[in-house]
């Protein structure tokens, strides 16, 4: 039990890089351990997931499903998976696990000093990071969840998302390459950031793989729109060495993702008129973000894809970090094809010949 706790707080000494937290959450714990600002919270570990599956008698079937790969007709898998989702949503929770989650939600309320603190419940898959595939957007995230009952319900939904259709189709190729037999999932529970602005940044230019840039996409309100793609973000390209703002593309925004008291859920609501045409983050904040991104990249020794939010007080919070997976896995093609002396380069240039080819000449991903 002590080796495989159900609950691990992000700020616990065992949290950083702990596989029981899944990829996403163990990365966040690592960020917190390195003093980056991460919203407080805890993970309902993969051990908790396995405990539930065992107690509910679903474990064997789950393993069979997850290892079936492409050897079984997809219609058969689809049927079995949807039975599995229904079972996960309805089987009783082991009481020790339910008590632990309720108790720790109360602890979070006390910690942040807010009764019924709104939280985000995020799936954090064990496979993330392990395979070099990002699983971006394949597992579910639930925002502005209030109260222990609702948290419990959404923890189940995270577990069930293991068997969602999208995950299956995304994973099959990975599995064939020799996957893990007994995959678990963690449900991360964190205080919601009431974001004034939020978005995503890459510590390289995703359009051409240029590693001297940080590319930021940002919008007013929660970052869901940027992640989902239904809000056109403003874009910034920052030089990663000098932190000059190289490019700034401000896009008008009419609606933002925010908690809507009318529906009791997060959705698109009208954006205040004076925000619609103005930049959601100042240059100064874009530069701050880029500096943060550079630090995270240095710490993790590879280009990163980072979700972030800026709260009403102007503090930047890291919501998610994961390795960038497109350019990082390509062989980087060089600029010069043959060895020449610098003088020859200059002579050719003055003869009207370009010496180097632009990065990613072979096209965009």
């Amino acid at each position: 039990m002590t080796d495989h706790p159900f609950i691990i707080w992000l700020d616990h000494e065992s949290a950083s890089g702990n596989p029981l937290l899944g990829g996403k959450f163990s990365n966040l714990a690592e960020m917190l351990a390195a003093d980056f600002s991460v919203p407080p919270g805890f993970g309902v570990s993969t051990a908790a997931y396995h405990h539930f599956m065992d107690q509910a008698g679903l474990a064997a079937e789950a393993t069979a499903l997850l290892t079936s790969g492409s050897s079984v007709a997809s219609s058969v898998i689809k049927g079995k998976a949807s039975d599995m989702v229904a079972a996960i949503m309805s089987q009783p929770l082991p009481s020790d696990l339910e008590t632990a989650i309720r108790h720790n939600y109360t602890s979070l309320e006390e910690k942040v000093g807010q009764k019924d603190v709104p939280v985000a419940v995020r799936s954090s898959g064990e496979l993330e990071d392990l395979t070099g595939a990002s699983f971006a957007g394949q597992y579910d995230t639930y925002l502005w969840i209030i109260g222990a009952d609702s948290v419990l319900h959404h923890v189940r939904k995270c577990w069930a998302s293991m068997f969602g259709e999208a995950v299956f189709s995304y994973r099959s190729g990975v599995e064939e390459a020799g996957g893990k037999q007994d995959i678990g999932i963690c449900a991360g529970i964190q205080q919601m950031v009431e974001a004034r602005a939020a978005g995503v940044m890459f510590t390289l230019d995703p359009l051409n793989g240029d590693r001297s840039k940080v590319a930021i996409e940002a919008c007013w309100g929660l970052g869901e729109g940027v992640v989902k793609g239904d809000v056109t973000p403003s874009r910034f390209i920052i030089d990663k060495v000098t932190f000059e703002v190289i490019k700034r593309q401000i896009v008008s925004q009419l609606e933002e993702y925010a908690f809507d008291p009318k529906t009791g859920a997060v959705g698109l609501v009208p954006l205040a008129a004076d925000h619609q045409d103005s930049a959601c983050i100042a240059d100064k904040e874009a530069v701050q973000l880029a500096k943060l991104g550079k630090h995270i990249e240095q710490r993790r020794s590879a280009p990163q894809d980072i979700e972030w939010a800026i709260n009403q007080q102007g503090d930047i919070k890291i919501l998610q970090v994961r390795p960038e997976t497109v350019w990082s896995q390509r062989e980087r093609s060089g600029l010069v094809s043959d060895v020449k002396s610098p003088i020859d380069h200059v002579l050719l240039r003055l003869s009207g010949v370009q010496m180097a080819k632009p990065p990613s000449e072979e096209g965009q991903p």
Binding site: V241, K247, P342, V346
Partner: protein, 628 residues
């Protein structure tokens, strides 16, 4: 959707083809400014547009070279532009020869200089030229340090011979020694020869000016291309930072002022400098003070050659020079003394600058994809750093040390004309072209030799008066940035190197409305940072003395010699100039936000306006107009 790039230009996401239907004004259609009718007489025939060559001339692309000559040219001062018309052009066309480039043509239009680069397009010719070019330029690059050492000696020799040229009014009776030494030639011949030597000396230095310069720029350009390919969007400011000398001769005059300020503190004579704002009074008080003689000795030693520092580009006789107008260095000196009295450190943070440069370079290097790229980067950076000292330091040798000296020699000659009753004022000579001066000089000799009054005594005064009025009228005109037929592509390296003109520049000019009185100006982001303050329009160095601490300097072109006021201003904005302009380099050295090449800042902004300068975005915004 539009996309804003860092230099603030807005262009459609889908790029329009470079040569749109728009065109620049036909150079033959420009109206003559009122009061300037007949301005053509100020300049030689070969400098003007002409009907016989109209088809060729209106088919070319001409751009205004406000970087070097923002004002209408004085007739005598065309020696400078005429010099590079030949000297810079021949390097590209005949000496190297650069395969795709011929020379750069010039015309004076309403007194302003327009230039037009000629290219080579015939592939056969390009290949033939490349062979010569590779061998010759390869020799220079391969032996750069030795050739540069020779260059320095040639430059100093030329300056030394210039110093020896003297002009004196002709004597009433030829001195006895000229008779008893049996020379057979006399003061008249000496005067004429001195004038010829003066002109030849200027053209000699003018030739040295371009001997190595374009190769230096070429190495820089290649390194810049490489960086832009590797790190698309990397700013020129950053690239220049990797190659520019932390210590170059252009910074030396200001360093001397700092040293003199420190010496004044040590010798306890600083109060004399603070209390006497007039240079003559200060020097007189200093001579009487204890310790003053020691300080004056240091002062005199520093003046040669470091105060041979023009407050302009050096191409214009009217730009004041420190050594003739000590107010500028002394103002800076007072500022430094005050800083020292407050216990502040006035030395430039060389170690910090070096460390920052090393760090930036190392970081970019590490970001390159392959070891082969790093090898190319190291090689090009090494070559560029090798040639860049010449690119920076030539400016002190040529434009400052030599040319300021040249202008004072011309004034010495002008005094001869004043003494012989041709002019009332030495400055009048600059309204004559150098070939007219030769005529006038011969006229003077005939008067002296014969004893009849020379015609020049009555001939030149009305002409000078008329020309001065015409030039004043021309000065009120705003030259459009470009004329003629826009080029579809610009590949010719010299244009890109020296003026930073690219297809984007041409597109932007096509969209510019010179008459629009806008609150928002865009230019080239030359030095990083943001500042807000009251604008001070500085049209000439006289205006510098009005500057208040924390103001934003707005001018046609920033002269390097204005550096002393850089520590007092919050930001600098200019109408003309590119990223390689010396002023941009110095702005960066001073960590001063700077936007250059705004086109119309001095027309749109007025002294007292509250403006915001964004040296990263390249924008200047008027936040509040001054009353009235």
């Amino acid at each position: 959707m539009t996309e804003k790039s860092a230099n603030g230009t807005t262009h459609p996401t889908v790029k329009a083809p470079p040569a749109s239907n728009k065109s620049f004004p036909n150079p033959f259609d420009l109206p003559t400014p009122a009061g300037a009718e007949g301005w053509e007489e100020l300049y030689p025939y070969y400098y003007l547009l002409s009907p016989e060559r109209q088809e060729m001339e209106e088919g070319k692309f001409w751009f205004f070279d406000g970087v070097h000559n923002p004002e209408p040219l004085y007739p005598f001062d065309t020696i400078m532009t005429e010099n590079w018309w030949v000297a810079a052009s021949q390097m590209a066309s005949r000496v190297w020869p650069i395969p795709v480039a011929m020379g750069i043509d010039q015309r004076l239009i309403n007194g302003y200089i327009y230039v037009s680069p000629n290219g080579v397009t015939d592939p056969e010719k390009i290949a033939e030229r490349q062979e010569h070019f590779t061998r010759r330029a390869g020799h220079y690059f391969g032996n750069w340090d030795e050739i540069y050492a020779e260059w320095t000696e040639k430059a100093k020799g030329c300056i030394g011979r210039l110093d020896e040229i003297k002009f004196q009014p002709l004597p009433e009776i030829e001195p006895e020694e000229n008779v008893f030494s049996h020379r057979g030639i006399y003061s008249s011949h000496d005067l004429l020869c001195s004038y010829n030597r003066l002109i030849e000396n200027m053209l000699e230095m003018g030739s040295y000016h371009f001997e190595m310069l374009n190769l230096g720029y070429g190495a820089y350009l290649t390194f810049r291309d490489f960086c832009q390919q590797a790190f698309p969007g990397i700013t020129d400011a950053t690239i220049t930072q990797m190659v520019c000398g932390i210590d170059n001769l252009l910074l030396r005059p200001d360093d001397e002022v700092r040293r003199l300020a420190a010496a004044a503190m040590e010798l306890k004579v600083a109060e004399i400098i603070l209390k006497n704002e007039q240079p003559d009074e200060m020097l007189a008080a200093m001579a009487k003070a204890e310790g003053g003689a020691d300080w004056l000795e240091k002062f005199e030693a520093a003046k040669e050659p470091w105060f041979r520092f023009s407050t302009g580009v050096g191409y214009t006789h009217s730009d004041p020079v420190w050594i003739d107008d000590l107010r500028l260095p002394l103002m800076a000196m007072r500022n430094y003394i005050e800083l020292l009295q407050r216990g502040e450190d006035i030395s430039r943070p060389l170690a910090a600058l070096l460390e920052k440069r090393g760090k930036v370079t190392e970081e970019y290097r590490a970001l390159l994809p392959t070891d082969q790229d790093r090898e190319a980067f190291d090689g090009l950076l090494g070559l560029t750093c090798k040639v860049f000292p010449h690119v920076e330091d030539h400016n002190f040798f040529v434009e400052h040390w030599h040319h300021t000296n040249f202008w004072s020699k011309v004034r010495e000659l002008a005094d001869v004309f004043v003494a012989h009753n041709f002019f009332d004022d030495r400055e009048d000579l600059f309204f004559l072209h150098r070939h007219e001066v030769y005529d006038a000089l011969y006229d003077l000799l005939t008067g002296w030799a014969t004893g009849s009054p020379a015609r020049g005594e009555v001939y030149w005064r009305p002409i000078v008066k008329r020309r001065r009025e015409m030039r004043d009228a021309l000065a009120k005109w705003t030259p459009p940035p470009a004329l003629g037929t826009p080029p579809s592509v610009i590949t010719e390296p010299i244009t890109i190197m020296l003026w930073g003109i690219t297809e984007e520049t041409v597109e932007e000019w096509l969209g510019v409305d010179a008459s629009a009185d806008s609150d928002m100006l865009r230019g080239v982001p030359a030095a990083s940072g943001k500042a807000t303050g009251l604008a001070r329009i500085v049209k000439d160095s006289e205006d510098l003395y009005q500057l208040q601490d924390g103001e934003i300097l707005v001018c046609r072109i920033i002269a390097p010699s204005w550096a002393p006021v850089f520590s007092r201003i919050a930001a600098a904005v200019s109408d003309v100039g590119g990223i390689m302009a010396h002023s941009a380099i110095i702005s960066r050295e001073y960590g001063l936000p700077s936007v250059v090449g705004t086109g119309f800042a001095t027309a749109n902004i007025h002294t007292g306006d509250l403006v915001e300068v964004d040296g990263d975005a390249g924008t200047v915004r008027v936040l509040e107009r001054a009353a009235g």
